[in-house]
Symmetry: C2
Subunit: 329 residues, 2 copies
């Protein structure tokens, strides 16, 4: 089994190739060409461990991701989250690579899904990008929008205003003209493409703030009880796209609207079907579109196998390495 640490992973990560692999993985997911068992969940005293795993039909490898978060870590001076991905041969079952990515690949695949949603759903002209939240995911979402969106103007809001400066500095270094807004509603009112990245448990963006033609990608809500958008805004959207019908109706941004029955399952389109052209997505510039992304194991599979393939290519290795390990005798 090959071990790849974070530095090696960064070295062999080709964003364009990974984005392409994630798009294809979403298509396979929505077409049902995957095996994605329910997410494993193990609570421990100060946090939770999640195990996401799956197999894309026809792939050479399957992937298991182990990721933990603990709310006590900040006080202990250690990273709040951790993660690793195990790439296993779909021929022998043997592990072939362990990616010690410390959660970085999860951050990246989440940001890339946001970029994919924008690529397919953003209005034709984006004059301002709005970002809610200013943490690592807020920064990555902005960074990965660059290849899919020409706009270089960004409005940001974080509930802790003292963090705006650091985000603006990051955005400037990335080539954006960045300004802080006074509220999430102000961000929404001034932007055509909004990304929400917070762990909020109550709506921050009301329906009244959002102009026709806006696209919103919501990545913050990933467990029951989390919410960033008002349920009335979700109900008002012309196009509702989800990464996973089953996950989003249970614990995504749209969970409240589903529970309050202001939207129906038939209102929802899966991102993979939009990418494949099987679902319409945005059909007019004035439509309000919302993408609710909860994170699907196929993204982890795509990013882990892409990085491993790039590492293999760079190291002159071809084929499934587990086939080269023969039994003694």
């Amino acid at each position: 089994m090959q071990l790849l640490n974070l530095a090696t992973i960064r070295q062999h990560l080709d964003p364009a190739a990974v984005m392409d692999a994630i798009e294809k993985a979403f298509v396979k997911y929505s077409a049902g060409d995957v095996t994605v068992p329910p997410v494993g969940h193990l609570p421990f005293p100060t946090g939770d461990c999640h195990i996401k795993y799956g197999y894309i039909t026809g792939d050479d490898y399957f992937v298991i991701k182990i990721a933990s978060g603990s709310h006590g870590n900040h006080a202990l001076g250690v990273s709040p989250s951790s993660g690793m991905m195990v790439v296993c041969s779909a021929t022998t079952g043997h592990p072939v690579a362990l990616l010690q990515d410390e959660g970085h690949l999860t951050d990246l695949r989440t940001a890339m899904a946001g970029a994919i949603a924008a690529k397919y759903l953003a209005p034709p002209e984006v004059r301002t990008i709005g970002i809610i939240g200013s943490g690592i995911q807020a920064k990555l979402q902005l960074e990965y929008l660059k290849p899919v969106c020409a706009c270089r103007k960004v409005l940001v809001w974080n509930h802790r205003a003292e963090r705006h400066g650091e985000f603006i500095e990051f955005a400037s270094a990335a080539g954006f003209t960045a300004t802080a807004a006074d509220s999430a509603d102000d961000v929404a009112a001034g932007s055509d493409l909004v990304v929400t990245t917070t762990p909020s448990t109550s709506a921050m963006i009301g329906s009244a703030a959002v102009r026709p033609g806006t696209h919103i990608t919501a990545v913050g809500a990933d467990t029951p009880g989390k919410q960033e958008l008002d349920a009335a805004l979700v109900a008002r959207a012309d196009v509702l796209v989800v990464d996973s019908l089953s996950q989003c109706t249970d614990h995504g941004e749209i969970q409240t609207a589903v529970r309050e029955k202001t939207i129906r399952a038939s209102d929802l389109q899966e991102l993979g079907n939009v990418i494949a052209g099987k679902a319409p997505g945005r059909t007019a510039p004035e439509q309000i579109t919302i993408a609710d992304l909860t994170g699907v194991a196929v993204q982890d599979i795509a990013i882990a196998t892409s990085v491993f393939a790039a590492w293999q290519a760079a190291n002159g290795q071809t084929g499934d390495p587990s086939l080269a390990v023969t039994l003694p005798g």
Copy 2:
């Protein structure tokens, strides 16, 4: 994260300490002092990957085991199974050790559970040990019976008689006088302590063959459809002990008897409760006792944390190593 390969794992494995840890883990399991989510299961074209994981209340670490088996591997010249265990801090959630045991620790913890069952359930005098099957698990079961049973006479039967010679050689080297029998029934008829270790899907031992006073440990049945003992024998047993009530009634040796309603849930005792003295186990020499072992995540937790603790002690390391990794800045 510390990586321990198989050679290092073997070097730091103290069988007596691990057996003790597994006994205590069974007690905690049966007392409900554990979190053991359902086993994760991912099928791939030629096999299956299983993820067993859990947390024993109060432990410093939780453990995730990834194990795969593929029926195509023999023809490919690679090991049929593989496995690894990840030890994570229950304080930070961070992985602290990866045990690349290649499935060896699963083999060992299964054999040790057999020894524990024999320790608590075997008749007072064992004149002959009977082993059904002659593979790695058959050998390990015999080996780990040594500390808990003074008998050094063994009868073996495998459905492929050409394999008897190798088993007899192994048993002799381990200090046993070993003889091959003509059938599983012959083994049962000639033994007081029988261990069945095969992947059989139909009964090999009939009730008529078994003498009063016999103890049988069945470790082969671990999925729906597998069976080694006749359902009438299961129904006749005076004492029925299972490692896990939920697992054994679903996919253990007793599944057929449960389905045919020849035994009731109230007839079953969990091994952890027998060890703790909360369930009676064997109460008379002439009783027939059966232990049905399907393998529980707490065994994996116990063996992985024991090996890691021994490695830490040998390397002058104390405490949770994830607490020593501080954030930059």
